[in-house]
């Protein structure tokens, strides 16, 4: 089964990349909502430390993150070692390991737009909703999420696109197992190293067009409402 001259192994890599981007984006959105909310409203001094931690993946080279993750998730690390003692397997060279790596790598791209959106919204709409007897869940679903949809969309798109192009972290902890940890960017790297420029071209072009189509969709949506952060 080959379309556009892309081999079956490369389709598997693309599929894996897509799955990785979808899963890590979904998990990040869920986990970062409360974190961003807390950051937007807390007055505590520890806030600056948490903000610095969240922004850390922006400035660290992906290979540094990958190197520490390999140690942490491997059988001798805190996470991998604990799993081993519990009778489970460590997380290096696994899809779960890649998801954890992607989530750390894309964390600031989700937290920061959400935090900005929550800050811009302020507490006022919630107080009004509360006086109208809206419960906590109702306030979240009917007030917070609709009012911060620009931030949500930005966070989702940035995290998804960022994971599509991720390379260094996945190279360090992945092990390049076809169908399990070999994502598209690593397959392209491997084609280039093996002087298979034709395959590298096809796969790269496909990724390029996908990313372009994704951004066109975002700009089209943007005509209806402005997406904070990445658009003017």
């Amino acid at each position: 089964m080959t379309y556009f001259g892309i081999s079956e192994a490369d389709w598997a890599a693309l599929q894996l990349t897509l799955r990785l981007a979808l899963i890590s984006t979904a998990l990040l959105l869920v986990l970062c909502l409360p974190l961003a909310w807390w950051l937007a409203h807390t007055q505590r001094r520890i806030k600056v430390v948490v903000e610095a931690l969240v922004a850390l993946p922006l400035v660290l080279p992906p290979t540094v993150i990958g190197f520490y993750l390999l140690i942490l998730l491997g059988p001798r690390g805190a996470v991998g070692g604990t799993l081993e003692r519990l009778g489970a397997s460590h997380l290096a060279f696994t899809f779960t390991g890649l998801v954890i790596g992607s989530m750390i790598y894309s964390l600031p791209f989700v937290v920061q737009p959400l935090q900005n959106a929550f800050q811009a919204m302020g507490r006022r709409p919630l107080e009004v909703a509360a006086t109208l007897r809206a419960g906590p869940l109702d306030r979240l679903v009917s007030v917070v999420l609709p009012l911060s949809r620009q931030g949500l969309l930005t966070a989702a798109v940035l995290s998804f696109a960022h994971t599509l192009g991720e390379f260094g972290v996945l190279l360090m902890i992945g092990g390049g197992i076809p169908g399990q940890t070999q994502v598209a960017s690593i397959a392209i790297y491997s084609h280039v190293e093996a002087f298979d420029h034709a395959s590298a071209h096809r796969l790269s072009l496909f990724l390029l067009l996908t990313a372009f189509a994704l951004l066109v969709c975002v700009y089209a949506l943007n005509k209806r409402f402005r997406v904070a952060g990445i658009m003017p």
Binding site: L70, I71, G74, A92, F93, I173, G175, G176, A194
Partner: protein
Amino acid sequence: MSHPFRRLLAGMAAFALSLALTAAQASEAPMRIAAASDLRFALEEILEIFAVDHPEHPVEVVYGSSGRFRSQIENGAPFDLYFSADIAYPRALEEAGQAASEVIPYAEGRIVLWSDGMDASELTLESLSDERFRRIAIANPRHAPYGARAREALIASGLWEALEPRLVFGENIAHTMQLVQSGAAEVGIIALALARNPAVLERGGYHLIDDALHVPLEQGFIITRHGGDHPTAKLFAEAMQSPEARDIMRAYGFVLPGE
């Protein structure tokens, strides 16, 4: 401004100035070598001797994947010497008119079984079938010369098919070693020259893989077109053939041409 603070500032300025001056000195066109990662330890020792004999000829080395260096040199990267782990790459560069010298064979590489958690000298290729080895690291056989030889040895031993689901792939031999060193892969096939490093040997032995199981890993180097008129390049090419350099290469387990 208080007095000690001003003194500190002056000290910092002097320090910055001396740094800048050393940088300017070093930028007097040092010779640049692109070297395969398996040479990491051996070449460092040879360079130490070279630096003593020729202090006026500074040398810089970048270690990495032989295949990547080939593309980079083809595309005009400013390397003066290119030490490849696979002699086919410098030959290809020579054919493309990118070499200022003949292709000079300098060594033959060997592969070994190595582990960071246990003494691999008691292992054989056959013991890899043991279930306790959940992950086995080799370099990517598609483009890493050592990975290609590892694959050949596993195929020749009739083990490839059984082991394939447990293999993980490093991008080059140094990354492969890193995968084993982290313990994430229990065992791996790496270059003898890397396993021979004293600091690594301390952490357990290695098992030399029979070289009848794979095509010889012939390694070669060239002076690139870029290094054609660099005096240090020729000097270093000669130093590489000196008895001292050959002794070091031999100590790291390389088989030398003509031996």
